[in-house]
Symmetry: C2
Subunit: 254 residues, 2 copies
């Protein structure tokens, strides 16, 4: 039984707690959060604490706090030589204080509170400084996910950057489409099947094979029509720039 | 029974033929293509033709050709007063010759040959100049799709533009991520669950609620790290521009 304490009850902490709570071979002992939190019903038998001095003895402390808080929290973490792991994509392992055994347990997913996810499908990128700790994280990861990979801090930073493109930036494309259609009093939900299919295509086609549209086929007439249609100058600028990027990638210039 | 002839056997023609072939109440009479095509096995009982003079009598002729060919093909379409519809998102109905009854049958989806789609889930945007023709398109659309909407040419152009953002531009974000990870010899497939979840989130959250990441939370330290990591100057430029767009949308400037 791996005994786990979760430090921080934001989006990541919430989803990890949910996954560990129902995982076999994992005992979720306690959840710490700086301030009082609304305790969800399904975690009613888990101890919540706002005092860092009242932490229980655990095999691993999972620090699920914003990137900026990782160093400070870890420096003040009074328990020497405990195993503490953070959950950030972009923060190196070495940001954690070396008074403790250090590691990373990074679930590669976008979390929103209240939107449940199937943790089994989420890749977990792990890192630790010694073999025993890495083994513990491997077992812990496999309790909740089908995909556990040992990834060092440098590689993890690259994966996190790539994740920004596929998640943050794609989602902003959805946002622009929605804002634009709302201006025109048109129904954004018509686009939802297209959004799903765009993502699903990647299962069988490389993005380079799946690319279609006016930029790819260098259809200058449609591109010009689109630029005229876009009333918002920021949207127009972004349309131009991404169109140019696609044209240049596929060998055609404006 | 609605008798259909498909004109053009590219991606859209292929997928429409597949859908109509197995639809009840639709008789797919013939497929015309300018040049010889490889006839798929499952369409072995359908007549293929490369001669425009050998077209059969049909209730509707569906012109599934590139945007640039629509006007020319329709001008040369010798059958007067037939009902001809194009399948383009961005071309107005009026590009079709007025020697015929005109319409639009625009399936709002991204098609790749060989990648099957569930047509039932694909919204079909229809337009026609008279009530009877619109009724015929409504019935025809409902034979293959759960969502049929009457959309005029102006609104359709806006929907098509929004589709470019959610499909073409998102797919290019996937491409950039893949290229970047390949440079680093890292496995793009780790990102696939994140890509699916990003799209699936839109079912329950507006894109504005689903937005996360360094740009949204104005995390300048991570943004700077990412810009340093990006070796390709085009990728760096795009990262900056989309980051600025997100910051400006969510009220924070660089």
């Amino acid at each position: 039984m791996i005994r786990v304490v979760i430090l921080g009850f934001g989006n990541v902490g919430w989803h990890l707690a949910t996954a560990f709570h129902s995982a076999e071979g994992v005992e979720l002992l306690q959840i710490y959060n700086r301030s009082e939190v609304v305790k969800p019903d399904f975690l009613s038998n888990i101890q919540f604490s706002t005092s860092i001095d009242a932490l229980q003895e655990a095999d691993v402390y999972i620090l699920a706090m914003p990137d900026d808080c990782i160093r400070e929290f870890s420096d003040n973490f009074s328990e020497d030589n405990k195993f503490i792991v953070h959950t950030s994509g972009s923060v190196p392992l070495t940001e954690l204080s070396d008074c403790n055994r250090r590691g990373v347990f990074y679930p590669l997913q976008t979390f929103s509170k209240g939107k449940s996810v199937n943790f089994l499908e989420i890749p977990v990128c792990i890192e630790a400084e010694n073999r025993e700790d890495l083994e513990l994280l491997t077992i812990l990861g496999e309790r909740i996910s089908r995909t556990v990979r040992v990834i060092n801090s440098e590689a993890r930073a690259s994966i996190h950057l790539a994740a920004v493109f596929v998640n943050n930036f794609s989602n902003h494309m959805y946002r622009i489409a929605m804002d634009f259609l709302e201006e025109k009093e048109l129904d954004f939900s018509l686009l939802k099947p297209l959004i799903y299919e765009t993502a699903k295509k990647i299962a069988t086609l490389a993005p380079s094979e799946a690319q279609t549209g006016p930029a790819k086929r260098n259809d200058l007439k449609t591109i010009k029509k689109h630029l005229n249609l876009l009333g918002n100058s920021d949207h127009r600028e972004l349309y131009s720039q991404i169109t140019r990027a696609i044209q240049s990638t596929y060998g055609k210039k404006l």
